[in-house]
């Protein structure tokens, strides 16, 4: 079994108009910049994929990564907890112009909905958001004297993730706090695409250290020395 593909274009094959994509990362930590930019390259060359729904904690920063996808006009909806950043222009302008939809989800509920999607759990109850505007219209129930809100799973057509090390079977480790949503998203997407700084042979990652088992991973592409979103923001980078 070998899940590696030769380049970024091969890694993103099959992502098409109208799909829902989960994109790993919390701010810049874990953002798969090279995979995102490869998707933008394809959109610029072919006009596809557009009309995308993106699931991420944030809604892009500056003029790179998710913000550059929004700028390019590829995104019709964001599902996120915090659509603000040090430079939120890309999302803010389109949102205030009514050109992009927003489903705002509390961060822990977002994580658990993605986890549920990957675990085959259609719905669950959480205390989060009970009695607030974000629970409007959702079923509620009492358990042990306390009120809870029903939330539904989140699934995606594809996930774009950044790992530190992968083996060719798709087992993954992550770097520091760049892990965040990625292990959850890996399980919740039909097509899980991973860029890894290093790809090694099976057995070279200690099984005790594997964070995401390869069963959740479809494709792996090696991207040595990947760009870091926050570092790019700080030098004012733009991807066009």
């Amino acid at each position: 079994m070998d899940k590696t593909v030769p380049d970024l274009a091969a890694a993103i094959a099959g992502i098409d108009d109208g799909m829902t994509l989960m994109i790993g990362g919390f701010g810049g930590a874990g953002a798969p910049i090279e995979l995102i930019h490869a998707l933008i390259d394809r959109f610029k060359a072919t006009g596809r994929p557009g009309n995308l729904t993106l699931i991420n904690n944030n809604a892009g920063n500056g003029r790179i990564g998710i913000a550059a996808m929004i700028d390019a006009g590829m995104v019709s909806k964001m599902v996120c907890s915090f659509p603000r950043s040090s430079d939120p222009r890309a999302f803010t302008e389109k949102y205030l112009a009514g050109e992009i939809a927003l489903e705002l989800v509390p961060q822990g509920t977002l994580a658990e909905r993605i986890r549920a999607g990957g675990a085959g759990i259609p719905a669950f109850y959480t205390p989060t958001s009970f009695g607030t505007d974000l629970a409007a219209g959702k079923p509620t129930a009492e358990f042990e004297g306390r009120m809870y809100v029903e939330e539904r799973w989140l699934k995606a057509d594809a996930a774009l993730l950044k790992a530190e090390r992968a083996d060719t079977m798709g087992n993954l480790t992550y770097r520091k706090a760049a892990r965040n949503f990625s292990p959850l998203m890996a399980a919740a997407a039909r097509l899980t695409i991973v860029q890894a700084s290093e790809v090694v042979a099976p057995g070279e990652i200690d099984p005790e250290q594997v964070i995401t088992p390869g069963i959740f991973v479809t494709r792996v592409v090696v991207v040595p020395a990947p760009q870091q979103e926050e570092a790019l923001i700080r030098v004012g980078a733009a991807y066009q």
């Binding site: 040090s86 658990e112 009970f130 607030t132 706090a177 964070i211």
Partner: protein, 222 residues
């Protein structure tokens, strides 16, 4: 009227954090609480994005942007730190594993309702982890100026802004007082020595329950 600085409010909140407590500090002003841990006590700080036991910011130029807190600021690790994914992180939050969460606020009501995520329908709404953090921690405390910039009470009978959580706050550390929320009432614990109870009541939007043992709110100059 003199009042505590933000640093002094943060200092006072830090005095109630026990040695070894697991603590989440909201982004912004509450992050300052970490600087004022009493000598000999070491809390373990949790951040939503998947770190337990992170430490101070690194020196400028030493940042590792894969090592950040929920406010996207660069942090460092202390010995015994751990990384985990977002679902585990919020299991710590909602599952009752944190001892204390300390948050900022726009309004807090005598029934424990908190409004700290939205000032209304204008602009782009953003909630982050605020609605999760108010559920699960054994103590949910708020640090805040006692009144808004234009002098209106932030401690109110009922919140007028969109709620973050219902009946969730247990203690308020303000620029004028320390107030517990018990059985739907503001219970005064400490106030600035130079201030009368009537003066404090005049800038508080709901009735203060005054028991026999109201202490002086004393902090160092910071």
């Amino acid at each position: 009227m003199s009042k505590l600085s933000n640093a002094q409010i943060a200092w006072r909140a830090a005095q109630d954090i026990e040695d070894g407590a697991y603590v989440n500090l909201g982004i912004g002003f509450p992050e300052m609480v970490a600087k004022f841990q009493p000598p000999g006590r070491q809390a373990i700080f949790h951040t939503e994005n998947g770190i337990l036991n992170f430490g101070e910011s690194p020196a400028e130029g030493e940042e590792d942007w894969d090592l950040i807190n929920a406010g996207k600021k660069a942090v460092t690790l202390r010995p015994g730190a751990a990384f985990f994914h977002h679902a585990d992180s919020f299991a710590m939050v909602r599952g009752g594993h944190l001892d204390v969460a300390i948050l900022g606020t726009y309004e807090v009501a005598e029934n424990g309702d908190l409004a700290n995520w939205s000032t209304g329908p204008k602009g782009v709404p953003a909630v982050g982890g605020a609605m999760d953090l108010v559920h699960g921690a054994k103590r949910v405390a708020v640090i805040t100026d006692h009144v808004t910039k234009d002098g209106r009470p932030k401690l109110v009978k009922r919140c007028s802004l969109p709620l973050t959580g219902v009946g969730c706050v247990t203690r308020v550390y303000s620029s004028l007082a320390v107030i517990d929320i018990e059985a739907g009432r503001f219970v005064l614990r400490e106030k600035l020595a130079g201030m009368s109870i009537d003066e404090l009541q005049a800038v508080t939007g709901a009735e203060l329950l005054v028991t026999a043992n109201v202490g002086d709110l004393v902090t160092p100059e910071l």
